[in-house]
């Protein structure tokens, strides 16, 4: 099926197998390897990208179903040579080891910082909570890191959120 979508600002028109995920489209057809395949079932977050500005698991999105969308991957976070503040903070805080979950962590964090509303650990639902380390941990729990860089990831996000 023919679909069009914009990835990191660049329009693409592609003919896709309806079975193809957005993740496989990015990785196997568009040469954008930043979004990672860690589980292919929405259980690890390594494939996290922004679809129309919201973080989503690219493995669970059929490419045909995101026809017409704007997608941002980790490759689209930096402005030229200038890293996104989160990218810089991840380097500075050693917030990754093997790096395989990192693109998903970054996309997730970028979107998370703009997400309104409470989380599962928010005390008073009526108020938009402050982004405490506890809030960051809960909101970032959809991104698994097997190297165990969580404490550094939280520090990096907290710093970049300031």
């Amino acid at each position: 099926m023919d679909i069009t979508l914009k990835v990191n600002g660049t329009p693409h028109a592609v003919d896709v197998d309806p079975r193809m995920s957005l993740l496989d489209l990015l990785r196997e057809r568009l040469g954008l390897i930043g979004a990672k395949k860690g589980c292919d079932h929405g259980q690890c977050g390594a494939c996290t990208v922004l679809i129309d500005g919201r973080r989503a698991n690219a493995c669970l999105a059929l490419a045909v179903a995101v026809d017409g969308s704007e997608v941002t991957t980790v490759e689209g976070l930096a402005e030229g040579d200038d890293l996104h503040p989160l990218q810089a903070a991840f380097i500075e805080h050693d917030a990754f080891q093997c790096g395989y979950c990192t693109p998903g962590q970054l996309c997730s964090a970028v979107a998370m910082l703009g997400e309104p509303g409470p989380s599962a650990v928010t005390g008073d639902l009526a108020l938009d909570p402050e982004l405490t380390p506890e809030e960051i941990r809960e909101r970032m729990s959809g991104n698994l890191c097997r190297c165990g860089a969580y404490v550094n990831i939280v520090k990096a996000i907290a710093e970049a959120a300031l």
Binding site: S21, H41, T48, A56, V64, L125, G142
Partner: protein, 323 residues
């Protein structure tokens, strides 16, 4: 994944019109695409209903109408939901991850399928997936499966958090389908497995959920609590949605209790509620009600822990809600 055709519905009626045997509606895809990749779901035609204009949350009198395509994130972040139905907001936020909640819809959340390991593995038998093939969970891995309302054919649980809150809130599920429009009160959308575990719900082929309507929120305080060994991003071992209203005389005037991850349905603890309403709001009464409810349970060797867990949860949650 088996080959299929994909079409995008222009309207709810267009979606229903396109329905033929082998068709499935695609919402956020967070469970359906997952199951298709596993070979558990094998639609011939996917009708994408995720972009239908069913993504609105609006007050209707003293009720709140939530469109079927509202994303879980938006439901939990909605000011009216947060203020008037905090139990629902908390239930939604307890489920899955930020990413999944961004994709998943209200209808999709209701219609998600069990996470029983056998159901999800096409190389093993499962009566729900392949009727008549057997239920290996009963002798095997049923550690997180049903203790209430299960049958000899199936001990699956419904995995949703949101549905537990909706069951406690007496929500109504609005459906359109080949047979016209109808309203299904919660709990009641989901069914016990009986001899037909392949049927999760009372929906008929072609039925499409268009909205969920919430009656005025129950009086008193409410809570949603989920138990899991991983602190986040995990299905419940047991969860509870509860509300409690106690008059100045210390008598319980209203009480709602629904349990998650204990049955094939979000389990409304009606027996416990009946015992509590009109009685004292004491720890002893809560315990008696919990035990009466769980008296109906038929646990298996490896999920019997859910009984003390559910009992403790009911008592502790009600004690917290009591004035």
């Amino acid at each position: 994944m088996k080959r299929f055709e994909y079409a995008r519905a222009g309207s709810p009626s267009d979606a229903v019109r396109r329905f033929r045997p082998g068709t499935m509606y695609l919402g956020g895809g967070t469970n359906l695409v997952d199951l298709m990749r596993l070979g558990v779901a094998e639609p011939d035609l996917l009708v994408d209903v995720s972009r239908l204009p069913l993504d609105v949350i609006e007050p209707v009198g003293d009720r709140l109408r939530v469109g079927a395509a509202v994303r879980n994130t938006d439901l939990a972040a909605d000011p009216l939901v947060r203020t008037h139905y905090p139990m629902l907001a908390r239930a939604v936020l307890a489920g899955a991850s930020g990413q999944v909640r961004n994709m998943a819809t209200v209808a999709g959340n209701l219609l998600q399928r069990t996470r029983c390991a056998y159901f999800q593995d096409v190389s093993r038998p499962c009566n729900k997936r392949r009727p008549g093939s057997g239920c290996p969970a009963i002798e095997g891995d049923h550690g997180n499966l049903a203790v209430l309302g299960a049958s000899g054919a199936c001990v699956a649980t419904h995995p949703s958090d949101m549905a537990v809150a909706l069951a406690a809130l007496d929500a109504e599920v609005h459906v359109t389908g080949p047979g016209g429009d109808r309203i299904i009160p919660m709990p009641g959308l989901h069914r016990l497995p009986g001899e037909e575990p392949e049927r999760d719900t009372v929906l008929e082929p072609g039925d499409l959920i268009t909205a969920v309507e919430l009656p005025a929120s129950p009086p008193g305080a409410s809570a949603y609590r989920k138990v899991r060994e991983r602190a986040s991003f995990a299905f419940a071992l047991v969860s509870i949605a509860a509300s409690l209203d106690v008059g100045s005389d210390g008598v319980v005037s209203d009480c709602r209790i629904a349990l998650g991850s204990v049955a094939h349905v979000p389990w409304r603890a009606e027996r416990a509620e009946r015992l509590l309403i009109g009685g004292p709001a004491t720890g002893a009464a809560f315990l008696e009600a919990a035990e009466a409810e769980l008296d109906q349970a038929r646990p298996l060797p490896r999920n019997a822990y859910k009984l003390p867990l559910a009992r403790n949860l009911i008592v502790a949650t009600l004690e917290e809600l009591a004035p």
